[in-house]
Symmetry: C2
Subunit: 509 residues, 2 copies
């Protein structure tokens, strides 16, 4: 799955702008994109346009590192000192984007005009530096809007974590980079062995696609003449989805998501939490239940959500719907060059965990089959149309109550580098993606698979979900529960399996 | 001097609102002030009205504590744990004020609706926890706008300072409290002996004036019928000031301040720094030079500013003007119940430090004599009129360039508690006030006299004054320089004195 953290169609932000500046970069240069308007693409400035104090459009990653013996504070300090000298900043990280202006006009600052000690911060946790202290700091950092008058990125090196660890929190505006590119860039910025010293920081690196293992991002120009045909195809596809609402088809149509406590007005404060599951456990569950890794991930999220909402008696009667960003790239293109939104039925109304997993799996299969029947151009157009409710809710006061949710939340699965990675000799033991919220969707779950782990980042509106940390615990419990029922079902037959599941579910009511 | 940190006329914020709620407080109650409009006063909502992301209207204090032997981290933790349980929040700290609405409507939250762990934060400095690390953290905290949807205050307990110290940073919106009240409240919240345990936190305390040593704040109602007479008196007073511009009078008229690098567009990022001078040194300088403590303070600030602006070749030819908040309260009233703005000539065009001090002293004396001749009501009206340029610059885009500065910066002297103070057995060894900036004034200097020290807080716009930390060093140098020339002049006669001064000044050019 090639998918940004938020889940919308957009290309690598600075690629096009770079082409205009080759051979002649000047300070504060204006880069226009008007010549590129034949591309039917969501422009980078779109993300500036959606930005608000309540819903800032930045994405982030929290990486945890464990040195081999050396004190973490010493390693963190060494990294900060080395990074502070790296003022050879890549053009992407020197760019300013003007707010609310189409087409986007990027202004490129000179390297001397970027104050490195504004963007690179050295921080510490109070004792004992446990999960609570880290979650409080990161929740706070993730709530704060980036300064839009400066290049929109921050890197925080955080010492004082218990068990001799340190953390790096990287925050970048979505207009500068999407989730897939961000994780890829991070992968490049880290070493694959413990012996390597301090690598280049992310902000001196150019376009990730240039040396990425996948093919270079193929663009999908859409001639003006074919736009009418595209629109017709889109309407046809939308019509198929509309019909799905009236039948027993497992395909999820638009606007069938129920109202839920997640779909409320989003305030400016965030609360984030994290969970980590061994990838081998998920894989085994998928194999035994004859579903996919992604189905098991969705089922675990669904179980956690169901239990969380039952706690507060807020579970909707109808099944909740997740929006899952998926690659809709044509053959041979980079998987991140074209991203659409798949709607998955989370079957939160189903009490039995195995029935729930199977219902989710059927819904995902139906969505993929539907996607395969629709021409690529129509998928692109449909993906843009699917952003419309988000856009309206962001820009129109009171729209949260009036526009029904397209989906209840976004669950995004970002592929991560599979080999173990190191920073200044310290091994990365966690990589948690933290995403953005749209108005009317108070929760986002994004996950990265990395070196045998599935690391989950929960990003929530603090007012709407004051106890979001429970979701992380419930997710881990959900995997335990699935294992208990699926594996026992596997060995003891279906009857025993269902009984165990019912018992576990009833306990938690 | 009874003066808020920013320097504007306003009464204690919540006093009047409280009167409407005696005997019947309900959750989220609306408190209107319309019945109080006979008072010719700047309303609290005025501060909400001036609020912008570039110029948030919060004031703060940074207090440094030194435990007697016990590890600072342990004491800090104990304070956080004890404070976290104090949810018996005073009405002032449960109030929400609506933005841009006259008259102010305050909504009072129930104590259960205030999330204490949002307002009380436990923080740490990275090693080594020196001045640099503290300044970076406080600069960052002071840049961040308060969440206006919650009661507008934050208390940060910060561990990890070198020399076994910890810090408390308190940030409150000016609509809730002014500088004088804030320092008074802090004085009440601390113990006068090392043996006392953990006191009540500030947010459980009521109105400071109730148990303050000064007389209870007398209000100054102005009947509608006399407003015309007041306006006439104000115009007359303003006219006297206007005439002062054309003569050699040391009295500073309005709008004579030159343009300077301080008077530019203010951005959202702050850089703060601090300095501390023994009060006995300032007192001795005042005595020997036959000036006042306040004159010596202004002269030290002036010397620091002059040197700072000479560094960047930005010193104006004409003398810079400081706005100094002063009490204009009638006899018997609380000194903070009525605050006006005195304009002082900083004589930054004078190279000789002693001549500069004498010029400042003459200007301050003239301003005080002028104040004594003007009726109180006219002073109140004039103080409100004097806010007009600030207001226009805050609200009208582009006004910074068009409206000439009334003064180049505000220098505010807040009286502090004179006895040594303790928190959980740790002695307070520094109390630095940090203030707000208005659009078009990129620097504020506020000082508190406390237990034999003068503690200075410099609050600057990071873009306009990137090297503001130099000002703190230059201020300390300025006191050394004044001592060298005044004391040597005192013993060796005027000739020697002037030579020394010239030499020192030339060295620094």
């Amino acid at each position: 799955m090639g998918s940004p953290m938020c889940g919308c169609h957009r290309p690598c932000a600075m690629d096009v702008a770079d082409e205009f500046t080759v051979g002649g970069r000047v300070k504060g240069e204006i880069v226009s994109r008007s010549q590129e308007r034949n591309h039917l693409e969501v422009d980078d400035s779109f993300w500036m346009w959606l930005e608000s104090p309540e819903t800032p459009m930045h994405v982030a990653a929290l990486a945890i590192f464990e040195p081999d013996g050396e004190p973490a504070t010493v390693v963190a300090k060494r990294i900060v000192m080395a990074f502070r000298d790296r003022t050879d900043i890549a053009s992407r990280f020197r760019s300013l984007l003007e707010k609310r202006r189409f087409p986007r006009r990027a202004r490129r600052l000179g390297a001397d005009d970027v104050e490195i000690d504004f963007h690179l911060r050295h921080k510490a946790l109070p004792a004992p530096g446990g999960e609570l202290e880290l979650a409080q700091l990161i929740s706070r950092l993730h709530s704060i809007q980036l300064d839009l008058r400066r290049p929109m990125w921050e890197v925080h090196v955080i010492e004082g974590l218990e068990n001799n660890r340190f953390a790096v929190y990287i925050k970048v505006h979505h207009a500068l980079i999407n989730g897939v590119d961000a994780v890829r860039l991070l992968g490049r910025a880290l070493a694959t062995d413990r012996e390597s010293g301090i690598p280049d920081p992310v902000w001196v690196m150019g376009r990730p696609s240039r040396i990425a293992s996948v093919a270079d991002g193929a663009r999908v120009p859409v001639p003006r003449s074919s736009r009418v045909r595209l629109l017709a195809a889109s309407v046809k596809a939308a019509n198929a989805l509309r019909k799905a609402r009236r039948t027993d088809s497992p395909l999820v149509g638009p606007f069938v998501a129920p109202r839920s406590p997640l779909n409320t007005v989003v305030g400016p404060q965030r609360r984030v939490c994290t969970a980590s599951i061994d990838l081998s456990r998920i894989k085994r569950l998928a194999k035994v239940s004859r579903t996919s890794v992604n189905d098991v991930v969705l089922a675990s999220c669904s179980a956690a959500l169901r239990r969380y909402l039952l706690d507060s008696e807020g579970l909707p009667d109808r099944p909740m719907i997740a929006g899952c960003p998926v690659s809709i790239a044509p053959q041979g293109a980079s998987p991140d060059s074209s991203v659409g939104m798949m709607l998955a039925n989370l079957a939160t109304d189903v009490a039995d965990p195995v029935d729930r997993l199977q219902a989710i799996s059927r819904s995902v299969r139906a969505a993929k089959e539907h996607q395969a029947t629709v021409p690529h151009g129509a998928l692109v157009a449909y993906s843009i149309l699917a952003m419309l409710p988000h856009t309206l809710r962001q820009l129109v006061p009171g729209a949260v109550e009036r526009i029904p949710p397209m989906h209840n939340l976004i669950i995004s699965n970002v592929p991560g580098p599979q080999q173990p990675l190191y920073l200044a000799g310290a091994r990365m033991v966690g990589l948690y993606p933290l995403s953005l919220l749209f108005q009317g969707e108070a929760l986002n779950i994004t996950l990265v698979s990395q070196a045998g782990r599935m690391d989950f980042g929960f990003t929530a509106c603090r007012s709407a979900l004051p106890n979001v940390q429970r979701l992380a615990r419930y997710l881990e419990d959900a995997v335990d529960e699935l294992e208990a029922v699926v594996e026992s079902g596997h060995s003891d037959g279906p009857d025993r399996r269902v009984r165990t599941a019912r018992a576990l579910s009833d306990d938690r009511r």
